[in-house]
């Protein structure tokens, strides 16, 4: 090779320490770095540079593995999005059952096979539309369901053996599920053919979303009854979608979201085992639901760590034997709380970054938020842009061509390890308290989240964290986009329909079924068949829920500020 005169030997540091003392030190002497806070949105400090030294002791064979293989850090499918794209599942529901039924049929006619149902606030709280507390809220944020008649209208003309239905409901989940079963019966569809998901995650209600009826322990009994019933009679049904989404929206950090969600999952699995179920019979029907916030790599690390922790928990802690029990399947939704009312079109960009993190984190399904959600319910235009965002990621960006492209990145792998370690620390603390139910009873996760959200609010106000358009690059005289409104007449009509059902039903049969349900709750009979009898007799959601209050009591939160 030709030798060039006067040529210096290039400097190539042998390790990070040497680089820091030479190349980096010279640069810092000359220019320094921006006076920024180099940490994630959750305040996890981030180092300037990750190198192979950050992965000391990390074994790519056992800690990373290959796609479709334990511990599934690289994804639960060998081919990931080359095999099948994630499911683009946009959550919808509004007004009356007939309005939503029309929307469902439109979606089915356009090739969608999965339905996703949003219920209104009174239904989510187990209150009827004519309840005093429901005033002004009927049909506003989702569909209002009071009796079997509403559920029949919701699924009218939709063969339940040919669709999969996701129902986002928790405290009264078992009652709504029984109504779904009763509709299937009327259609002549057998329970084993039913396919779908109930959110049914009551523990995160106490931690974050705050839509509860009974205290945690009797609520856990209803959930184990439902798991037992489905294992025997509705084997294709996903019984719980264990949700970190709401924990994050309530202001938690990424690590807290991961830790509290997995701790909830551990509690459900333990409850199932304690109720005498075989872990491999019910665990494959558990799925997860995570948030994807603005901090790109932190989110990806969280999702990769989630799979690895869960696989090890299921195999090592619970002794699950089947692979299906080890695999953490999850849905992702972009972070509603990250969206701004100011300069709302900026939200399209935030959602894109968050959705991409969900995809690179290996999600099975995805909901992208609409850019106008910080203003009101999403408009049609905004919903379309949200769906198109997913389609562009899936079909234009090229990220679906290869499986887990970030694996082996010093930074991503070391951040995954770090998030995993911090989440495991939380889980250990919660175990020491006696599990998540005991931790909830003493307000532990609630307090941790309130502290994190207060801290973040201060960071926004002192400018150490930026939200474009809110605390930086603020625009004067903004115009706001058009928004969707739900008419109050929806509520009035629903109350009239409810009054008709109440007048026409057989009161003696109703009372008998509700009494049987209450008696069952006093003993240890499985409550699901008893609830099914009550909804067949046209009991309302509120009546079924109230029937158990004398036995189970109601939950009062001791508010932690």
């Amino acid at each position: 090779m030709k030798k060039h005169d006067g040529q210096m030997k290039p400097r190539q540091s042998r390790n990070k320490d040497e680089w820091e003392r030479t190349t980096l030190a010279e640069q810092l002497d000359r220019a320094g770095e921006r006076p920024a806070d180099f940490s994630t949105v959750s305040s996890l400090p981030i180092e300037r540079l990750a190198t192979s030294e950050d992965l000391d002791g990390w074994d790519p064979g056992t800690d990373l593995g290959l796609p479709g293989e334990y511990p599934y850090t690289r994804g639960i499918h060998p081919t990931m999005y080359r095999g099948r794209l994630w499911t683009m599942r946009q959550f919808a529901g509004f007004g009356s059952a007939a309005d939503t039924n029309e929307r469902f049929k439109y979606l089915l006619d356009h090739g969608q096979t999965g339905l996703s149902t949003a219920f209104d606030l009174p239904t989510l709280m187990g209150r009827d539309s004519d309840d005093e507390m429901a005033e002004g809220e009927v049909g506003k944020e989702g569909v209002a369901i009071d009796t079997l008649a509403d559920m029949e209208r919701l699924f009218d003309g939709i063969p339940l053996d040919q669709v999969s239905t996701s129902m986002t409901i928790n405290a009264p989940a078992a009652v709504i599920f029984c109504m779904y079963l009763a509709v299937a019966e009327k259609q002549g569809v057998s329970f084993e053919k039913l396919n779908g998901t109930l959110q049914n995650d009551i523990l995160k209600e106490y931690i974050a979303q705050k839509e509860w009826i009974y205290p945690p322990r009797p609520s856990m009994r209803i959930i184990t009854d439902l798991m037992a019933f489905c294992t025997r009679h509705v084997p294709k049904w996903n019984t719980i979608s264990i949700s970190g989404y709401h924990i994050r929206e309530a202001g938690s950090t990424a690590v807290q979201e991961l830790a509290f969600t997995l701790a909830d999952g551990i509690a459900y699995v333990q409850a199932g085992i304690d109720a005498g179920l075989d872990v491999d019979a019910f665990a494959p029907r558990l799925s997860f639901f995570f948030n994807s916030h603005n901090d790109f790599f932190e989110e990806i690390a969280k999702l990769r760590a989630a799979r690895r922790i869960w696989a090890r928990v299921m195999r090592e802690r619970f002794g699950a034997k089947q692979e299906r029990s080890w695999k953490l399947r999850f849905h992702t939704q972009t972070a509603g709380c990250s969206l701004t009312a100011q300069q709302p079109h900026n939200n399209i960009v935030r959602v894109t970054v968050q959705a991409l993190a969900g995809v690179l984190g290996g999600t099975q399904s995805l909901h992208t938020d609409s850019y106008d959600e910080a203003l009101a319910l999403p408009s049609d235009d905004a919903v379309t842009v949200a769906l198109r965002t997913q389609q562009i990621l899936a079909e234009e960006s090229g990220v679906t061509n290869t499986v887990d492209p970030l694996a082996g990145s010093y930074f991503v792998e070391s951040l995954t390890n770090r998030v995993e370690r911090e989440a495991l620390d939380y889980i250990e603390r919660i175990d020491a308290m006696g599990g998540i139910v005991a931790a909830i009873e003493r307000g532990y996760p609630q307090k941790e989240i309130a502290d994190a959200s207060y801290k973040y609010q201060h960071q926004l106000e002192d400018g150490s964290k930026t939200i474009v358009g809110v605390n930086k690059y603020v625009a004067e005289n903004e115009t706001r986009p058009r928004i969707l409104r739900i008419d109050d007449s929806v509520g009035h009509k629903q109350i009239e329909r409810l009054a008709r059902v109440k007048a026409e039903r057989d009161a003696d049969r109703l009372d008998a079924t509700l009494a049987a349900l209450r008696n069952g709750a006093e003993g240890d009979e499985n409550l699901i068949p008893l609830m099914l009898d009550a909804v067949r007799a046209h009991a309302t959601v509120g009546e079924v829920c109230q029937a158990l209050v004398p036995v189970f009591g109601t939950y009062q939160e001791s508010s932690v500020l």
Partner: protein
């Protein structure tokens, strides 16, 4: 020398809405700003909020509503205060609500409405400038 009495504020969640992130942040910010704060907790009726306000003898009620039921719940609380002869307890609040509703809420007697992006500092300054202790006179 008598100092101005500390402001007493009730932070309330009314209706079935469980979104308490904002209410808790505001309550804590008020406390750290030196006000006396009573937080109602979740799922209160308008009657419960007004009764607590009277029992606690507060100077103002700050309501947080993210459920879309603001046009119903704000006027209800104000109406009940009037009924009980406590119209000098001021009502303000915040949440996710459209601009055009803010004007009609103000007409209905809501003093101020803060929407997403409002800072704790801005809210506290507004309270200092606009809420007067009822126990002065």
């Amino acid at each position: 020398m008598s100092e101005q009495p500390k402001l007493r504020l009730l932070v309330g969640k009314v209706g079935l809405d469980g979104h308490d992130r904002g209410a808790k942040i505001v309550a804590r910010a008020f406390r750290d700003a030196g006000f006396e704060v009573i937080y109602t907790g979740l799922h209160q009726t308008a009657e419960m909020v007004v009764n607590t306000a009277l029992q606690e003898d507060v100077d103002a009620i700050s309501l947080s509503i993210l459920s879309g039921a603001h046009n119903h719940l704000f006027p209800k609380v104000i109406g009940l205060l009037k009924e009980k002869g406590a119209q000098d307890i001021q009502v303000f609040g915040g949440g996710i609500l459209p601009d055009e509703d803010i004007a009609s809420l103000k007409e209905a007697g809501v003093m101020e409405v803060f929407t997403p992006g409002a800072s704790m500092k801005e809210i506290i300054e507004w309270v200092r400038a606009n809420i007067k202790s009822r126990r002065l006179d």
